[in-house]
Subunit: 260 residues, 2 copies
DNA sequence: CGGGTTATTGATGGTGTTCAAGGGGTGTGG
DNA sequence: CCACACCCCTTGAACACCATCAATAACCCG
């Protein structure tokens, strides 16, 4: 199917499949293209490298920008490049042909896409906000990794962390009630953002309700209702593009609401 | 809680938490302790090594045997060792304190446990059948990996595959109906066994119904009912300790039964 | 202001859970 | 060798949670 000629979808669900308009920054025209100045220098896989090695990495890096609601790559695409996110938020998803969708994660600055170094992507990635990323040709990156054991090790460590996180999420999807799922999502998301931006009572939610639903294995209505209930119970407050956590301990309670 | 003094559990669910009675084979007393003769030589991570390197690995390997229904290690245990399974089947699970359980996978010969090389296990591992495995002290193994880039690469590749598989399973847990889940489970399990043992219409199921339920995010009753329905529809036939697949194409249909 | 998208809320119903009872296999001890 | 206990699995009936359907509200951007 051609991804271009669908303007109004059957359900409003697949709203983000605009063509992947990716802009490259060739030279200092606004994009910081130096690793020294990179915001996520110490978070990303690059943290494994010393000064000289970083130069090598920088030599094969391209900096790219993707607008909000645009696609970075689609599930099954040939993985010509791998990416290190430097700003913005992406939604990572797998689709079932009949329209159902599972969001397998959200990518934030410091995250690496294409970890597996395999020839095609196992999930699609759409920008939820404007996104900037470092892009590497996969074959070149693989070749560099082969020469840098420490980078290889870091890549493995990152993949292992993601695997552990995926197993966590399996528990959520397999065994948690709706209320628990939403509470756990809010807590984990806030912890993730806290690492990046420091503590804040206000929690930005760049993803829509449908994205949260597809992440948690629920419907948009159930997510909305649960958030409304939390609001009624003074656990959270809905603000534009996010929520404010009013009572974290009650939220933790909701995350462990025992069944039966 | 002490894992020893519970003989009849509250629900019959946690039937396998016997103390982890692991036997070691010191010398040629029945255990094949040579990699040359290893059945999974080409499947396991060891496949990354050449003759000399394999000798090094062999030098730090211990061979161990775990009886059916015994625990290899528990979630949260200090990971003193990492394991390469050489025969048998294990159940890998995470537990929620209130008794709910999510089976995150089943391990078969060739599988590696402790991939992350972190200091504790993120899931528990129980033997469903008698199991044999190669065991390595984690610190020594990590040190070896640091010296063998090819082994590091193989480890990363294995972790990446598991991550992709975990994402597959998220779709199952988040978006599939009960009938689809069971059908997909049977198909994937049969494909996995086919790689190991070659094609066969008879599919051994060393795990119990409760294990399948905990893997698929369902109850034992739903799994049982679904299998009964498949049997009525002549899709499968229940045989001792497994099923026989009578009509694979119908099973594939059931795996894609559209919702609505 | 108007069109379109996204979020909320309500009413209803279905899929899977829960509760309960019975069947079938296996191992053990009389 | 049978009786009995103990699992595990199966099956039935009632219920609950969440999905579905539908309408409205809020929002954004033109």
């Amino acid at each position: 199917m051609s991804p271009a000629d669908m303007t109004t979808q059957e359900s409003g669900r697949k709203a983000l499949d605009l063509p992947g308009t990716i802009q490259l920054c060739g030279s200092p025209d606004g994009c910081e293209s130096l690793c020294d100045k990179c915001q996520v220098r110490l978070l990303a896989v690059c943290a494994a490298l010393d000064e000289d090695e970083l130069k090598e990495l920088e030599a094969i890096a391209e900096h790219c920008v993707v607008g909000a609601r645009h696609t970075l790559f689609q599930e099954g695409d040939a993985a010509r490049h791998v990416y290190s996110v430097t700003s913005g938020t992406l939604r990572l998803q797998r689709d079932i042909d009949d329209g159902r969708r599972q969001v397998v994660g959200f990518a934030l600055p410091g995250d690496f896409l294409g970890l597996s170094l395999e020839s095609s992507f196992g999930f699609g990635a759409d920008a939820l906000t404007p996104v900037t990323a470092c892009r590497f040709e996969r074959t070149r990156f693989t070749e560099l990794v082969a020469r840098k054991p420490e980078l290889q090790r870091k890549l493995h460590q990152t993949a292992s962390r993601k695997l552990a996180f995926a197993e966590d999420h399996m528990v959520v999807l397999g065994r948690r009630k709706a209320e628990e799922r939403v509470a756990i999502f809010l807590l984990r998301w806030s912890e993730r953002l806290q690492v990046l931006r420091g503590p804040s009572p206000t929690l930005p939610l760049p993803m829509g309700r449908q994205d949260i639903a597809d992440y948690l294995g629920l419907t948009i209505e159930t997510v909305s209702r649960t958030i409304s209930r939390f609001t009624r119970d003074r656990i959270i407050l809905v603000v534009p593009d996010g929520v404010r956590v009013l009572d974290r301990s009650k939220l933790i309670q909701s995350a462990n609401a025992t069944h039966s």
